[in-house]
Amino acid sequence: MLFESVLITIATAATPLLLAAIGELVVERSGVLNLGVEGMMVMGAVCGFGAAALTGSPWLGVLAAVAAGSLFSLLFGFLTLSIATNQVATGLSLTLLGLGLSSMIGEAFVGSAGTKLPTLAAGLGAVPVVGPPLQNLLTNLAELPLIGRFLFGQDPIFYISILLVVGVAWFLFRTRAGLTLRSVGDNHASAHALGINVLGIRYLAVMFGGACAGLAGGHLSLVYTPQWVENMTAGRGWIALALVVFASWRPLRVLAGAYLFGAVTIGQLHAQAMGFGIPSQLLSAMPYLATILVLVLISRNRRLTLMNTPASLGQPFVPDR
């Protein structure tokens, strides 16, 4: 089924963007601008791949990717929050450091065979007692026409990414903790005056963002193309950053943006294969143009955009005592 496989390739292309973007969205909602997404992502990719290669377990690889991303973001958190360094400069150096460090760590893994993360159904099958019936159920559901495999036959990280979007939307707009996080991003001085632990909340947000970026990297090296290639994130961290801004810091728009980007990426690949006589460079640029265009259109309502913009984004907070 062509339709079904195209749908799945789109999801595979969109998932790492979505993960990195939803993490960065939470970070930025707390008022911190972390431009190190690319660096955290590539660290997640190399550590995930390495752990899976060394232990033989792609599951441990996923855990390693998440841990690497969040530990790496902790470095950013320490610098920008505890020492109040410039967030832009620190984020950029985090990306550069991540790219360099990952090349060094990954040198041993270049060319080695990867371990692909099994689908959710296959993964469940390994769980004793309750696993096999669930696996059967999912395998049968995946036989549904058109969308069966898209909905029920994918890798676990895909499901995590969707759950994260829904979870983040619910957390930000339906819980007290989410309200507190948004208040810190809106006006950190006021939040501090009310006795809210501004730096503590920002640390947690930064680490959540790091974990998501790490997981996104893990998806690249364990699902998308199960191997390690230097700089394999190929600018996806920057796309994720742009998605957050264009989506005006709203989770469901990030979801739409990531899938749109994925769809146009896959679409232009097919168009190139068919050879329409359009320069391939132009086609390769299509996803970027399309995403920018659509997101600009949906964020035309200026009032709504400004209401959603974290007002203290990027400003260091130093409480005076």
Binding site: S183, S190, A193, I196, L306
Partner: protein, 523 residues
């Protein structure tokens, strides 16, 4: 002291030798303060006297360097605002600690530590606000509310925490006289319920009206404890300032009537630049040679937008909407408007009126390089630092600017002295039109008197002066006519002989006939 209670009954809050040192500056120097139960205690002092620092220590946002705080007689360390709140200390901030993008109820919920659902909080807020005569819609977005309504959120938020001591930091500086009256009723009622209030203000008539005791600070030290009801406004001012404040002299020379209109604003409208900005709606005004016109209004009703349109920070599509000296100026840039003989003093001194890290002489050159090109730059555009230094010295001398070095950075001056320099920089040109926004905001009484006197003299010499101010006393002191800005509209100017506090206050609240008031304000 009148508030000293019987032996064995400790004050609600007492400080002993409370001190806060910032680097080389002692902001609070061994402060003794004693607030009894059920009293409204005034904390008086000029800007920079240490009032805010003291209060921040009481509310746990600053750590004292030395000294101790006694809460109900027990030495207590107030480590954080949350800690202060647990003890029973509530605070209503001067610069509101609200979140614009959130609703009133969400803002209130953020200050309450428990897990009460927001719907319950909204309901309690609604009940409490009606009970105290402070109507408030919990679902409204803070960005859409007037300053008075925002303050209500702060007060309700504070009351919901059931504090025993409420700290109010300059609560009336943003209110219309009528809103202030309503606030006083609420405060007296709270006192009747046995709560104590620490009331920070430099408005002496208010303090005399509602406070039972006062502590006066000057340069970080306590200079007096007194009962404000036994004092006059003059004696309180002497305690605060340390010297007699000179009254403004208005020359008795008759006003030049029918002078030429040097500044004309014709049907000036401007759409809001951000969701939180106020649009200007058909503003009309004329300022004639020899007169001072004042624009009163609660902050955030379009005054800043009007100033930006006048100064040329934003251009007008209709060039005739603003006319300076009889020429259409709506499309001219700031420098071009200055070349027509006008001068502008913005509200924000650092970053707008002056570049903080540049020296005074450099700031002088920055604002006058076009108007004084011949004197400061010459044909070749080479900076004549000698001429600029001389002009700078002339300004500091004539305005009595006190500075630590010969030519310090702007940021090194105190607010009042920098303001004197910025106003002096414009007056030195003898502009035919001067527009000034909040001329004495945050300026001490001595410097304020000096600035007001200079404005009056400029007008008497035949210039048109437009003063935008939130300080009604100031406008009544210097203006020949007062117009009121509300919700982006400007009322017709009232001659000072006809203007009363009540009339202006009503206009500030939006009470003009046929004038759509803000929702909730009418109740």
């Amino acid at each position: 002291m009148s508030q000293v209670s019987a032996e064995g009954d400790p004050a609600l809050l007492e400080t002993r030798k409370l001190t806060k040192v910032f680097g080389a500056v002692t902001a609070c120097d061994a402060i003794d303060l004693r607030i009894a139960r059920g009293e409204i205690h005034a904390l008086l002092g000029e800007n920079g006297a240490g009032k805010s620092t003291l209060v921040k220590m009481l509310f746990g946002s600053l750590e004292p360097t030395a000294g101790e705080v006694l809460w109900k007689g027990t030495p207590t360390r107030i480590a954080s605002p949350a800690e202060a709140r647990r003890l029973g200390i509530g605070m209503v901030f001067q610069h509101f600690s609200l979140f614009e993008a959130l609703t009133a109820a969400q803002n209130i919920a953020l200050a309450l530590p428990d897990r009460t659902p927001i719907a319950t909080i909204a309901e309690r807020a609604r009940t409490l606000s009606t009970g105290y005569g402070l109507p408030l819609d919990p679902q409204s977005l803070v960005a859409d509310l007037s300053v008075g309504e925002r303050q209500r959120i702060e007060i309700i938020r504070c009351l919901l925490q059931e504090p025993e001591l409420i700290i109010l930091d300059e609560p009336t500086s943003v209110l219309t006289p009528q809103e202030a009256d309503r606030l006083f009723e609420t405060l007296l009622r709270l006192r009747g319920e046995g709560k104590s209030i620490l009331y920070i203000s430099h408005r002496l008539d208010e303090v005399k009206r509602i406070c039972d005791a006062a502590t006066v600070l000057r340069h970080g030290k306590v200079v007096a404890h007194c009962d404000p009801r036994d004092e006059t406004a003059g004696s309180l001012a002497r305690m605060m300032v340390g010297t007699e404040v000179h009254a403004i002299r208005r020359s008795d020379a008759p006003l030049l009537t029918g002078g030429e209109a040097l500044l004309e604003i014709n049907q000036l409208s401007r759409p809001p630049a951000t969701p939180f900005a106020i649009p200007l709606r058909n503003v009309d005004l004329q300022v004639r040679a020899g007169e001072i016109v004042g624009i009163a209004g609660v902050a955030g009703n379009g005054q800043s937008e009007l100033f930006e349109a006048l100064s040329g920070e934003t251009l007008q599509p209709d060039a005739a909407a603003i006319r300076i000296g009889g020429r259409d100026a709506g499309q001219l840039t700031i420098s071009e408007r200055r070349l027509l003989g006008s001068a502008f003093v913005p509200e924000e001194r650092l970053g707008h009126g002056a570049a903080p890290r540049l020296r005074l002489s450099e700031n002088l050159l920055l604002s006058r390089h076009r108007t004084d090109r011949n004197a400061f730059l010459g044909r070749l555009g080479i900076v004549f630092s000698g001429a600029i230094q001389l002009a700078s010295q002339r300004i500091t001398k004539s305005m009595d600017v006190r500075k630590s070095a010969a030519d310090p950075e702007a940021a090194a001056l105190s607010g009042g002295n920098l303001q004197k320099f910025i106003i002096g920089r414009e007056l030195d040109r003898q502009p035919s039109v001067l527009v000034v926004n909040q001329p004495t905001w945050g300026v001490d009484a001595g410097a304020a008197a000096r600035i007001r006197q200079a404005l009056i003299e400029l007008a008497r010499n035949g210039s048109a002066v437009l003063v935008i101010s939130q300080d009604l006393d100031e406008l009544f002191e210097i203006a020949d006519a007062i117009a009121v800005m509300h919700d982006g509209r400007l009322s017709a100017p009232l001659p000072r002989s006809e203007a009363t506090f009540e009339a202006i206050g009503l206009l500030m609240g939006g009470a003009e006939p046929g004038h759509a008031g803000r929702a909730g304000e009418a109740a």
